[in-house]
């Protein structure tokens, strides 16, 4: 029996409700491990975005415990949470680019937040824009970019700081199949560099594009584990039941 892997995220009986409404997520328990590629699937309204919000610390759960990077983040004082957020990259479903900043400045934002000097920004940001094929649009504002270009700026911003974990909410939702595949290849490349990737998608065709991925499925706020992703040790897709 191999030694247990160090977990990067652990959810224990987490529940989430907005106001006095019924729970949108119930009894969510799972563990994510470093360097793995996870898909979070489920129909629209299943609670994928709510689960990701808990994951990237935009939302506090109504109950349960969440440990990230070895720390119980629920009991952490809020002034310590930015340090955990800086270890994550997030691709939002609606991109959430800053309208009045250029593509370059949007991508540079996490580095500026982390205190990187202006002189040290130019190289990594230019490289990243080139990597996503947008070097020629560095000065363009988000409003002048196409949906796919905005998506790539959002991805570049999410990965520029080489996060320990990348969380992407429907990153291929607004692009054509070719571009969707290119984006998934970008995530795979990042994953190979050691970043844990969590991609929420309702596109079942995408799941088979990443052979080593693990799948979490949400249905009406309840989590199922078709590939054993949530158990230890997680089983790979195609490994057989």
């Amino acid at each position: 029996m191999s030694a247990p892997e160090e977990e990067i995220v652990r959810f224990d009986n987490v529940g989430l409700r907005y106001g006095t409404e019924r729970e949108v997520l119930s009894n969510i328990s799972f563990t994510l491990f470093p360097g793995r590629f996870y898909f979070l699937t489920g129909a629209s309204g299943a609670g994928k975005t709510s689960l990701l919000k808990l994951l990237y610390l935009a939302q506090r759960p109504s109950r349960g415990a969440i440990r990230m990077f070895g720390t119980d983040v629920i009991t952490q004082p809020r002034e310590r949470l930015p340090a955990y957020r800086r270890r994550m990259g997030v691709v939002f479903q609606d991109f959430r680019l800053v309208d009045h900043l250029s593509a370059f400045d949007n991508v540079a934002l996490p580095l500026r937040v982390s205190g990187v000097r202006e002189a040290d920004l130019l190289g990594p940001v230019s490289d990243m824009l080139e990597w996503v094929g947008l070097a020629h649009r560095a000065d363009a504002r988000p409003a002048t970019l196409s949906g796919g270009e905005q998506q790539r700026v959002a991805i570049a911003r999410a990965v520029i700081g080489r996060p320990d974990m990348l969380v992407a909410d429907e990153p291929t939702g607004n692009v054509d199949p070719d571009m969707a595949l290119k984006l998934i290849r970008l995530f795979e490349a990042l994953n190979r560099l050691g970043t844990t990737v969590v991609v929420a998608t309702h596109d079942v065709h995408l799941l088979r594009k990443v052979p080593d991925s693990l799948i979490m499925r949400l249905d009406k706020g309840l989590l199922s584990d078709p590939t054993g992703a949530l158990r230890y040790p997680p089983r790979r897709v195609g490994a057989g039941e």
Partner: protein, 310 residues
């Protein structure tokens, strides 16, 4: 597809201030700026005027108090001129020997009649009403009640019609009015500071609302509350500096012009209310206070709003 670039692990670094022009551009300038420099300019100008007026009144009262602090007047109120002169001479003899008395001067009768001329006319006023003889006293330890009582007792036998009053007593109502005006100026400054802080609070709240998306993004990218507050502080700092400089210039010119106007009145009392060099320096500090108040107000407003986010 090319390999991703090798990046520094910048995200592992601790929080640091968002620096430089580009950090300031995180908030569109027009959204936070707007009328704020002008509001601050008006606040600073009014505060400089109120502070200038308050300092001038304070100087006026101080000078008046200083001049009158050790002064007293002895009035010989006897109706008979000969008796009055005799009592005045006796009183002067007694007083000049008293250790509390630094000096005295018998006010010439011509001077007294000249002072009364507007009311009694020039035709031998002594015939109309008895005019008291006045002795101007300078006291060593101040014209306090105990000293005046002792001097009254001293004169009781040889100058029974003598009456001694501290000169400060005559100006007491004026000094009280000046003090009230000084307090009013202070109250006005406090109100202006409160109004200025309220204006900044509203502007910061408005800017927070307008820039909520940007703030949320910076927050979710790992920006700390202090970093986000610094963006607002930086923005309000420039507004406050600009407004402070304009307000100070306007206020200083207005105070100087008012001072020149009052000096032209050539009144002993009013001309005593000029501003000293230190007073001008105090006025020059008003914009610094306004800038500090605006920056702190913006900081606390933003931090209070951010605490509502996770």
């Amino acid at each position: 597809m090319k390999k991703p670039p090798v990046l520094s692990r910048a995200a592992a670094r601790g929080p640091a201030p968002l620096r430089g022009k580009r950090a300031a551009h995180l908030l569109p300038r027009a959204r936070l700026g707007g009328p704020m420099p002008w509001v601050i300019a008006i606040m600073v100008a009014l505060t400089v005027l109120a502070a200038g007026g308050g300092l001038a009144l304070d100087n006026l009262a101080d000078r008046a108090r200083g001049e009158l602090a050790g002064s007293a007047t002895v009035q010989i109120l006897a109706a008979d001129p000969a008796n009055r002169a005799q009592q005045a001479e006796a009183a002067a003899d007694l007083l000049v020997q008293d250790p509390a008395v630094a000096g005295l001067a018998l006010v010439p009768q011509d001077t007294v009649e000249e002072l009364l001329e507007p009311w009694l006319g020039t035709d031998n006023p002594e015939d109309a009403v008895p005019i008291p003889t006045l002795i101007d006293l300078r006291l060593r330890g101040g014209a306090d009640q105990a000293t005046l009582e002792r001097l009254r007792s001293l004169l009781a036998d040889r100058a029974p019609d003598a009456r001694i009053d501290a000169q400060g007593k005559w100006l007491a109502p004026v000094l009280a009015a000046l003090s009230a005006l000084g307090w009013m100026a202070l109250g006005l400054i406090a109100l202006l500071a409160f109004t200025g802080a309220a204006a900044v609070w509203l502007a910061a709240r408005n800017a927070l609302g307008s820039n909520r998306d940007t703030i949320e993004i910076v927050h979710l990218l790992g920006g700390s509350d202090h970093q986000i507050a610094q963006i607002f502080q930086r923005s309000i700092l420039f507004d406050a500096l600009l407004g402070g400089v304009f307000g100070l210039a306007f206020g200083m010119v207005a105070v100087w012009l008012m001072g020149a106007q009052f000096s032209a009145l050539d009144s002993g009392l009013v001309s005593g209310g000029g501003l000293e060099t230190t007073d001008w320096l105090v006025l020059a500090l008003v914009p610094a206070g306004a800038v500090a108040l605006a920056v702190l107000t913006a900081r606390f407003t933003v931090l209070a709003s951010l605490r509502k986010m996770l």
